[in-house]
Structure formats: C-alpha cells, structure tokens
Amino acid sequence: MKLTRRATLLMAMGTAAAAVLPFRASAAAEDAIATFTGGATVGAGGLTLTAPEIAENGNTVPISVDAPGAVSIAIFAVGNPTPDVAIFNFGALSGSQSASTRIRLAGTQDVVAVAKMADGSFVKASQEVKVTIGGCGG
C-alpha cells in the first residue's frame, strides 16, 4: 500500500477521534462528580455500593448504597447519556445512611457512588454492571 499525503492525514484524524471519544464519555461523568464534590479530593472506604454483576434488563437495575455517617450520597452511571442518577440527602431522622432504588443503565458500565461525610470529606465506590439489554430505549 502506497501512503499518499491524503491517506496519512485521514489515518491521523481517525486515530485522534478514537482517542478522544472514550475520553468524552467519562469526561461528562467526571464533570458530574466534580459538580457534586465541588472539586474536592475523593477518598475510598466507608461506602458500600451493592449492584448486580450482571443485569439482564437495563431498565430496572436494583442498587443500594450504605455509608454510615454520610450527609448525602450521589449515584452516577458513567456510561449513560446523562451520568447523574440520584442524590440522597439524609435528614435528622434517618435511621441509617442507606437507601435502595432501581435505576436505568444504557449498557455495560461502571456505577459510581460518592458519599459526602458529616466532616465534609468525600468517599467513592464503584462497581461494573454488565447489561444484556440497554435501558434507554431507541
């Protein structure tokens, strides 16, 4: 194969696009997480995220979060068109800082939970969920 100037340019553009695309998808999620944390550093531990390893139907994926001592817990689906899922704010009468719900996942992706603790620090937990049928319709 002879490499013309045009072919070289096209290949370079293709490589650049391939490198940028996956970055875009996670950048939206990172932005959403940064909006919640206000750019603070996020630690680990003290937060439990329970999600199925394999979800047959992405329309209803049961998840639960548990973070003793948290003020609020935010859930993000990194691979969804909009990564925000829900923010749980716990009031004075909450019996434990835990909650369960059902969420939609567009496809196989990481589910991320970020908890804001009473002292203002943030912790993160994530788990990959394999989705057989995506839940965003078409």
Binding site: N59, T60, V61, S64, A77, N80, P81, T82, D84, V85, A86, I87, F88, N89, F90, G91, A92, L93, S94, G95, S96, S98, A99, S100, T101, R102, I103, R104, L105, G135, C136, G137, G138
Partner: protein, 109 residues
C-alpha cells in the same frame, strides 16, 4: 402528562420509641427520560418525578433528587428513626408541577 399516578407506601403500624424502621415506597409513574423517540422518530419529551421527600412530624428523614436514570415506577427503600408516635408524610414532585402526597400514621407499641 403522567396519568394514574398512585403512590404506595409500606410503613409498620407500630414501633418501639427510638426504633429504626424500614420504609418502602413505590409510585406508579412512567418516568419518561426524554431520550426515547416515538414511532415517527420524534423525541418524547422528558416527564419525570424530580424530587421525593419523606418527613416525620415535620422533620426530614430523606430528600432524594431524581434524574431520568431512575427506573419507571420509582421505588425507594430506606430506614427511619421513630422517636415518638406521629405521621410520616411522603411527597413526590413531578416535572409538570404536580405534587403527590401520601401519609401514614405510626403508633408506639
């Protein structure tokens, strides 16, 4: 617009003072995400419940902000302290401005 929106809540009838109880809530709602298209290819506008709160005698138990990624018929399970006899008030806020409420009394056993 959402039709036939029915909230369903499960709260124990009675509890010991200071006990932690589990509450389950479900509300029938399509939670239209705004991502889907109808048969003609036009996008279906977003119509979801965007906020859910639970209060006990005026004190907040939980306050949830919902996004389109919450499934149809939003379901929540959480725990609450019961310091005294009183009433749980559950409120769901719809995108179209509707507010759905449900209340449950609890007695001290």
């Amino acid at each position: 617009m959402a039709e036939n929106v029915t909230p369903r809540v499960r709260v124990p009838r009675s509890a010991a003072a200071g006990e932690t109880i589990t509450i389950k809530t479900l509300i029938s709602h399509p939670m239209e995400s705004g991502q889907r298209k109808d048969s003609d290819g036009n996008p279906i506008p977003r119509s979801i419940i965007n906020r859910f709160t639970c209060e006990f005698n005026g004190e907040t138990v939980i306050d949830v902000q919902l996004e389109p990624a919450i499934s149809t018929n939003p379901y929540f399970e959480f725990e609450s302290l019961v310091p005294e006899a009183g009433t749980f008030v559950f409120t769901w806020y719809d995108d179209d401005g509707s507010v759905y409420t449900e209340s449950k009394d609890i007695a001290i056993a």
